[in-house]
């Protein structure tokens, strides 16, 4: 089991034991399609990602809950 922690676009992504994902301390539920080895989340319902970290970065980048776009 591996742990990973990084700051991506101002958000702290943490993956514990390869499976427990948090962003800025918030637990993120996700689905793992074991047949195709893809990850997805209700945050981004139209895409499956190749890794949990890739999913986490996409959530940070593309959801209004975590992105920080300014007018």
């Amino acid at each position: 089991m591996a742990n990973h922690k990084e700051t991506f676009e101002g958000c702290v992504i943490e993956i514990k034991d390869d499976v427990n994902l948090t962003i800025n301390g918030k637990e993120i539920n996700y689905e793992h399609d074991r047949t195709n080895n893809k990850w997805s989340s209700r945050y981004l319902p139209y895409t499956k990602y190749n890794s949990l970290l890739e999913l986490a970065r996409a959530i940070v980048r593309d959801t209004v809950e975590f992105s920080h776009a300014n007018e």
Binding site: Y46, D62, V64, E65, N70, E71
Partner: protein
């Protein structure tokens, strides 16, 4: 009647009307309620599952009613995003409709939904910044082509177990985008930005994307009228034909898939900007001819054939060959009325149906027993010889004939002779809910009149003026599955 048009064909006035209506709904707070309805639905209840299409049909239908209300135009329809001609340079992205791509940071700064004019909300309903777009930068650089659409338009059935992103063959799963060319998901991902999360209705192009999805489903329904919504039952709760769908309030129409299957009944009319190939007439099988070669070239495919029965009599419908076929018979003269089906009634694993058939047009639908295999076969229909049974004759003012509908979809045919013009009554009696049609004169085919409950109780009765000639009365149960005994007679007056 909502008239839905290709977004790129809207006139300046139509664009202005649509934009004004959307902005009015935003000002009223109604627009954001729709964002939240989608954002807070259970993801796997409205996506990645059979209800994906009916849920979104109902969703955009409801918004359309609101657009009609605020615009005062009962014909206002959500425009559809015709992907093959809807790329970044298409007019739908002009400043008078949707505005264009985001800037280097993804912020939309053109059009009526630009930063400062339009604020998106998060799943809690709180303001969350400007609308974001990043055309082609989220992993899918190109939009769907017409060839992609044509490919998916040929897929049947509607959906299949396990009713998720693995379902195959599945029209729903392909249209949604989890297998095959990817149509719906591609629209979201190509736009990027605010179209990526569950709050994607923040971008008005969401509705145009789903209007295109809905149009393709509608076109597919027209093309395959016998391919119904699946699962009818037995699937996960919320996905079956009569289950209430998640996050779907009561409204002008019901909240079940069955409530939204018919676009026309919902008052939706699409323009003809996308020309779909018309449904081909089924190949005709000649009764008594050598079996017609055919094959199931794609898993899940169903072949449809048509044949004519000229006169009542015993017939055998059969397949031959190495495939494990499953055959269903429909008719007469109604391709939705199922008469019988069979799996292995013939040689080896071939299907065979033996029935007495009335005169009329019938359809045979053949698939392989396994939805995952392909194979060839041949199909034929033969009349099983012997003298053609005599059609029972009713004598005017004579006695009744006692009979019964003994099998689903059975119909009984009678003849009677009229020698003098006058008013005549044809009626059934008994406890069976009969349906009566009158044909003639001197021909079994033209229908002159029909009746369900014009007689006593649930009996049928026709009273009309007839001239000299031979007439034919056909009796069936009102319910396609119903059986029961009855009596029939013809009287003068």
């Amino acid at each position: 009647m909502a008239i839905r048009k290709d977004a790129n064909t809207l006139t300046a006035a139509e664009r202005a009307e649509f934009v004004a209506a959307v902005r009015e709904l935003k000002a009223e707070g109604i627009y954001d309620q729709f964002v939240l309805r989608h954002a807070n639905a259970i993801m796997n209840a409205i996506h990645r599952a059979p209800a994906f299409l009916p849920w979104h049909r109902r969703f955009i239908f409801d918004l359309e009613l609101e657009l009609q209300r605020v615009s005062g135009n009962p014909n206002l329809g959500i425009p559809y995003w015709n992907w093959p001609s809807g790329g970044a340079n298409a007019s739908m992205w002009n400043d008078d409709l949707l505005g264009g791509d985001g800037d280097a940071g993804g912020v939309v700064r053109t059009g009526p939904f630009r930063a400062g004019e339009w604020t998106v909300i998060n799943a809690s309903g709180l303001p969350a910044g400007p609308l974001m777009r990043a055309f082609g930068q989220s992993g899918l650089p190109a939009l769907s082509t017409q060839a992609d659409i044509d490919q998916i338009m040929a897929v049947i059935p509607y959906d299949v177990s396990p009713w998720n992103t693995s379902s195959n063959p599945s029209f729903r799963n392909q249209l949604e985008g989890w297998i095959g060319p990817d149509l719906h998901n591609r629209g979201h991902v190509w736009v990027g930005g605010s179209m990526l999360p569950m709050t994607s209705p923040n971008d008005p192009v969401f509705y145009m994307n789903h209007c295109m999805v809905d149009k393709i489903w509608h076109d597919w329904q027209v093309r395959f009228p016998n391919q119904g919504y699946l699962p009818a039952s037995g699937g996960p709760f919320g996905q079956n034909l009569n289950d209430p769908m998640d996050s779907t309030p009561s409204g002008q129409v019901g909240s079940r898939p069955i409530d939204v299957l018919d676009s026309v009944a919902l008052g939706i009319q699409y323009d003809d900007a996308i020309v779909q190939p018309p449904p081909l007439p089924p190949p005709v099988i000649v009764v008594g001819a050598a079996p017609t070669p055919a094959d199931i070239g794609a898993p899940g495919e169903t072949d449809i054939f048509q044949f004519e029965v000229s006169a009542f009599g015993p017939h055998t419908m059969f397949t031959t060959g190495p495939s494990d076929t499953f055959m269903t018979l429909f008719g007469p003269n109604d391709p939705t009325a199922e008469v019988a089906s069979n799996d292995d009634g013939g040689e080896n694993f071939n299907a065979q149906i033996n029935r007495n058939l009335s005169a009329g047009t019938y359809q045979l639908r053949v698939r392989l027993f396994s939805p995952n295999t392909t194979g060839n076969y041949a199909i034929g229909v033969r009349s099983d010889g012997g003298p053609v049974p005599t059609i029972p004759e009713l004598v005017v003012d004579g006695g009744s004939i006692d009979a019964s509908i003994s099998a689903a979809n059975e119909s009984d045919l009678y003849r009677f002779q009229i020698t003098a013009q006058d008013t005549y009554t044809i009626q059934t009696t008994g406890t069976t809910d009969t349906f009566l049609s009158l044909h003639g004169p001197n021909n079994q085919t033209p229908e002159m009149a029909s009746n369900d409950d014009g007689g006593i109780s649930s009996n049928a009765q026709l009273r009309l003026e007839l001239g000299p000639g031979e007439y034919f009365a056909r009796v069936r149960h009102f319910s396609p599955l119903g059986i029961g005994s009855y009596s029939i007679r013809v009287t003068r007056g």
